[in-house]
Amino acid sequence: MSAGFYFGVEVFLNGLMAGVMYSLVALGFVLIFKASGIFNYAQGVMALFAALTLVGFQSGQIPFAHLINAVFGTELHHFGWKMPTILALIFTLMVMILFAFLVEKFILKHLVNQEPIILFMATIGLAYFMEGFGDLMWGSEIKKLDIGIPQGGNFWLEEKTATLGGDGFYGFYLDNLDIWATVCAIILVASLVVFSQYTKTGRALRAVADDHQAALSVGISLRAIWVIVWSIAGFVALIAGIMWGSKSGVQFSLSLIALKALPVLMLGGFTSIPGAIIGGLIIGVGEKMFEFLIGAPFLGGATENWFAYMLALLFLVFRPQGLFGEKIIERV
């Protein structure tokens, strides 16, 4: 086998790992969409907000310090202590749950029975709000996030595989962080599937997804379910925020990962958990391979910006019901 082949395999593996991350973000969307019919555009900003909050707690930042300084002329910035990572994680999770409560109380409750498009636009508004709010609370400079996950290349794997290829191939280069992220994502995805299939809350959740009215009539509290799914989505956002944040720093661009999950949803369908997983893998591998084989050599690179969308678009034109949907019979 030539070195080129093994480079291809390496790109494939990297794509697979990126795909797992896309699946993770897509799952956050699917959960909320299934339970409340809301297409939650704010999912990405939630990841950013969670990561900002985590860093803030860890480093003992004073919330709204910048704003307080501007108003009162003080010079606040840090409390002067560091919080252990595990404590910071717990606090951040609590903030995300509080956030879920507030969203239910101030937004969802008032928008029941509105058209889906109105709800979608409300989440865009929410995304803008949170972005500004996060920046006001923690400041907008790029922050380093380190919760102790090893970084850099995995030399063990590189050494072990170095002999595989011919000249110019020095073994597979995979980032430790990516490997960790993949493992976490797989665990999370598996536990979410177990949660929604086998627990009582999970069943209630699926009942709500099937039919709001029917679920209400058998005594499931819609509002409680909403708080639960938004909390879970907040948790998923936190994990995604940690993974992406440790890799490239906590900054505004993190909120754009949500956009990457959208083509995954188109491919897999808005309501299908397996769809989100398979769709994520296809997109992850597809865009890395396309960039490697066609994008970088012939098109000037950076095709990852749009490839996923085009792929999803073309796919849907030929199969509008998505990967796992049944053929739609239209009725009048």
Partner: protein
């Protein structure tokens, strides 16, 4: 008491279908037009033109375009920024390739080219619906921005990757370039706004508009009563993109003067115009004006209050802007999902009966 229709009797169907059925509205409209053309040009200065008036006029055109597609035809698009970029780059290529071409034609042709691109990306709308289509339009947004960034032909191989508008004149007055006077730029844009708003009103009031709205409200029923869905959706995409292209061309050539695609026409532009039509009112011409005015004025106002009055640093003011814009959108959707246009209509209903309660 004063604002009412009692005593006005419509004797023909044409009169019943006119744009402003109430006399007072009609007068208000004519007076606004007269002021806009005859008074404003004498008072306008650089600050007002650049901070408020020019962006307002240009975004009105984009909002009209998106409102035709989303508000009237029900096809949500998140590709507005990309289509504005098509208009901008088309006008740049036309201006540099044909230096003698009149600037009015440049702008109109740019709109035409954008219409073609828009229809191309509208083709999947026959098979893809709702959110799926909204996400599909993101493909247009990202692909177009990438294209204008990566293919040097589009920016004439300039080293900075930017495009900048050369000077073009109309009746001896500079419209684009560094020598353009605010009053002239203003009048140039104003003519486009008035003509295009009038055309949009006409397109939406008759047979064509009913086709769009029928597709929006129930596409299957529309097809069964004889509306060709593909053709109808494509005309909506085409007309909408024409407006958005014109807006993009004006934004680049008249307002910005120079532009870099990712910065000037990114995904945020798409959302900005979408917010305009939500806040203004979906499916309303007046709403497009109200929404554009709101989204242009509010940041200026916030900045003046926070930076000017309270002496906040500009970055905090910018963050507050996000918080307030986002919050307002949510509040608007909760209080009145039909936007400013609906509030205006309700106010008028009340006024018609005033001072009697019923």
């Amino acid at each position: 008491m004063f604002y009412r229709e009692a005593g006005e009797f419509k004797t023909t169907y044409a009169k019943d279908q006119q744009t402003f059925p109430i006399a007072l509205d009609r007068w208000g409209y004519f007076i606004t037009l007269a002021l806009a053309f005859l008074a404003v040009p004498f008072f306008i200065n650089d600050y007002w033109a650049n901070a408020v008036v020019l962006p307002f006029l240009i975004y009105v055109i984009a909002a009209l375009g998106l409102n035709i597609l989303t508000g009237y035809c029900g096809q949500v698009s998140l590709g507005t920024g990309g289509f504005m970029a098509v208009g901008a780059y088309a006008s740049y290529k036309l201006m540099t390739a044909f230096p003698d071409l009149n600037i009015v034609f440049v702008i109109l042709l740019s709109g035409g080219i954008t219409a073609l691109v828009g229809m191309l990306f509208g083709l999947p709308s026959l098979r893809i619906k709702g959110f799926y289509l909204a996400v599909a339009t993101l493909a247009a947004q990202f692909f177009l921005v990438w294209l204008f960034n990566k293919v040097p032909w589009f920016y004439n191989y300039s080293a900075s990757g930017q495009i900048s508008a050369p000077e073009r004149t109309l009746f001896g007055q500079a419209v684009t370039g560094a020598n353009a006077v605010p009053a002239i730029s203003y009048l140039f844009c104003l003519v486009f706004v008035v003509v295009l708003a009038w055309a949009a009103r006409n397109l939406t009031r008759g047979a064509n508009g009913r086709k769009w709205m029928a597709i929006r409200d129930m596409d299957i029923a529309a097809e069964i009563i004889g509306v060709n869905p593909l053709k109808t959706k494509l005309t909506a995409f085409g007309v909408s993109s024409f407006y958005i292209g014109v807006s993009g061309a004006l934004l680049f050539a008249v307002y910005l003067g120079a532009a870099e695609v990712g910065e000037a026409f990114g995904i945020n532009k798409s959302f900005l115009v979408l917010f305009m039509i939500i806040i203004g009112g979906l499916g309303s011409i007046f709403g497009s004006f109200a929404g554009a005015a709101f989204m242009v004025l509010m940041p200026v106002l916030l900045k003046n209050i926070m930076v000017g009055q309270f002496g906040f640093p500009t970055d905090i003011a910018a963050h507050f802007e996000f918080v307030i814009v986002g919050g307002l959108i949510v509040v608007f959707l909760i209080v009145e999902p039909h936007g400013l246009a609906m509030l205006w209509r309700i106010a008028k209903e009340k006024l018609r009966l005033w001072p009697f309660p019923h």
